[in-house]
Amino acid sequence: MTGPTLYALTGAALVGIGFFGLISAQHLLRRVVAFNLIGSGLFVFLGAAGARSGASDPIPQALIITGIVVALSASALAIGLVVAHARASGRPTLPEEDGEA
C-alpha cells in the first residue's frame, strides 16, 4: 500500500468518525468539533488524491488552505450561535432532544 492510499483511507475513516460524532453527540459544542473532523477528513482525502501521481499537486493544496480558513469562519459562527442559544435557553442542547435526555 502506498502512502497516498493510506492517507486517503484514513481520511475516509475520519469522515465516518466525524459523522458518527455529529449524530451521537447531544452537546452542541461537541457537534461543532465533530463537524470539524468531517471537514478535515475530506481535506486529507483530497490532499491524498493530489499526491497520488507521485509529485505533490499545488492546486488541491491551495483549495484545502481556502477550505481550512472557511471551516474556521463557519466554526466561529456556529460557536457564537451555540453560546447565544445556551445563554437564552440555559441548555447546550437542541430543544427536540431535551425530552429524550
Binding site: 493510506l6 459544542l29 509529485a55 499537486d57 466561529a76
Partner: protein, 312 residues
C-alpha cells in the same frame, strides 16, 4: 521504514479522532481535537504539502482550539458545560453502521477513481508567468484569485454574523469577556514572551510565502494569535466594534484585491487576471493588505462579539 511511520501516524490520528468523538466530557473532546490537529499537520508534511501543514497547525489546531476552549469557558459560566447522558448503544448502532458505510463508500471511490498521470501539466507551463515561485501561493493569489477573493469576503461575512449575536447594550463595549490574569503567573509571563517571537514568525511566513512554504493565511493567523495571546494576558485591551481604524483594517484586504482585479480588467488582461509584467509586485501589495485583514478578522472572530458586561 517510511511505511511504518505512515502507518503509525495514521493509527494515531484515527485513535485520537475516536477519542474526540467517544471520550467522556466536552473539555476532553476539545483537548483531543487540538492533539488531532497537530498530528494531522504532521500527516500533511508526509503528503509533501508543507503549506497545508502550516495552515492546519495554525488554524485547524491553534485558532480552532482557542475558539472551542473559550466557548467552553463561556458555557461553564452559565453551567451549560456538562453533557446530557448519551443514548444507549442500541440506539446508536444504526448510526454507527451508516457511518461505516459512508467510510466504505469513500474508500471504494478512491480505488474506482482513475489515477492521474502527472500533476497539472497546465500549471507547470503557467507557473513562470505567475510572478512568484511558490506554486501554492501562485494558485491562491493569481490563477485562482476568485476563490481567495471570495474567501476573504466569507471571513468578513462570518465576522458580521458573530457580531450580530452581540446584545444591544454591549455593542459599544470592547470585544470578548474581561480577562483576569494572575500577576507573575504562566499567562502573564507567556503574554510577554510569545508576542515578539510570534510577530517575527508571522512576518517571516508572509515574506517567504512568495518562494517557499508560507503565505498570507499562515502568517496572518500567527499574527492574529499574537494579538489573542496579548489580549488573554491582559496586556492588550481588545478594541471596539465602533472604532473606524479597525473596520478599515477588516476591509483592506478584500478592497485592495478587488481594485487589483479591476486594474487587471482595465489593462485588458481581464477581471482578476494579473498582467505578467506587474504580477509579482501586484501579488506583493495584495498579500500585505490581505495579511492585515486576515489577522484582524481571525482575531476578532476568535475573541467573539462584545460582551464585557455579560455576568451571570
Amino acid at each position: 521504514m517510511t511505511l511504518v511511520l505512515d502507518l503509525t501516524l495514521c493509527a494515531l490520528i484515527l485513535a485520537v479522532a475516536l477519542a474526540t468523538v467517544l471520550g467522556g466530557g466536552v473539555f476532553r473532546a476539545i483537548v483531543f481535537f487540538i492533539v488531532y490537529g497537530l498530528l494531522l499537520s504532521v500527516a500533511w508534511v508526509r503528503l509533501d504539502a508543507v503549506d497545508v501543514a502550516l495552515a492546519e497547525a495554525a488554524i485547524g489546531a491553534g485558532l480552532t482550539g482557542v475558539l472551542f476552549l473559550s466557548a467552553f469557558g463561556k458555557l461553564s459560566r452559565i453551567g451549560a458545560e456538562a453533557e446530557p447522558p448519551a443514548a444507549g448503544i442500541r440506539a446508536l448502532l444504526p448510526a454507527a453502521l451508516a457511518c461505516a458505510g459512508l467510510t466504505g463508500a469513500l474508500a471504494w471511490a478512491w480505488f474506482a477513481l482513475p489515477v492521474p498521470e502527472r500533476p497539472a501539466p497546465d500549471l507547470a507551463t503557467a507557473l513562470p508567468r505567475a510572478g512568484i515561485e511558490n506554486p501554492v501561493t501562485a494558485v491562491l493569489l493569481n490563477f485562482r484569485a476568485w476563490d481567495t477573493l471570495l474567501e476573504s469576503i466569507v471571513l468578513l461575512a462570518a465576522l458580521i454574523g458573530v457580531w450580530m449575536l452581540a446584545r444591544d447594550e454591549d455593542w459599544h463595549d470592547r470585544f470578548g469577556l474581561p480577562q483576569h490574569v494572575r500577576p507573575g503567573g504562566v499567562m502573564a509571563n507567556f503574554g510577554r514572551l510569545l508576542p515578539p517571537v510570534g510577530v517575527l514568525v508571522g512576518v517571516y511566513l508572509v515574506y517567504v510565502g512568495a518562494d517557499r512554504p508560507g503565505g498570507a493565511f499562515q502568517g496572518g493567523t500567527v499574527l492574529a494569535a499574537v494579538g489573542l495571546v496579548a489580549a488573554l494576558a491582559g496586556l492588550l485591551r481588545p478594541p471596539r466594534v465602533t472604532q473606524i481604524v479597525w473596520r478599515m483594517g477588516l476591509v483592506a484586504g478584500p478592497l485592495v484585491f478587488l481594485i487589483a482585479g479591476i486594474v487587471g480588467a482595465i489593462l485588458g488582461a481581464g477581471f482578476l487576471t494579473l498582467p505578467e509584467p506587474i504580477a509579482g509586485s501586484a501579488i506583493f501589495v495584495i498579500e500585505i493588505a490581505l495579511v492585515a485583514s486576515i489577522a484582524v478578522t481571525l482575531a476578532f472572530l476568535v475573541i467573539g462579539p462584545p460582551e464585557q458586561g455579560h455576568r451571570e
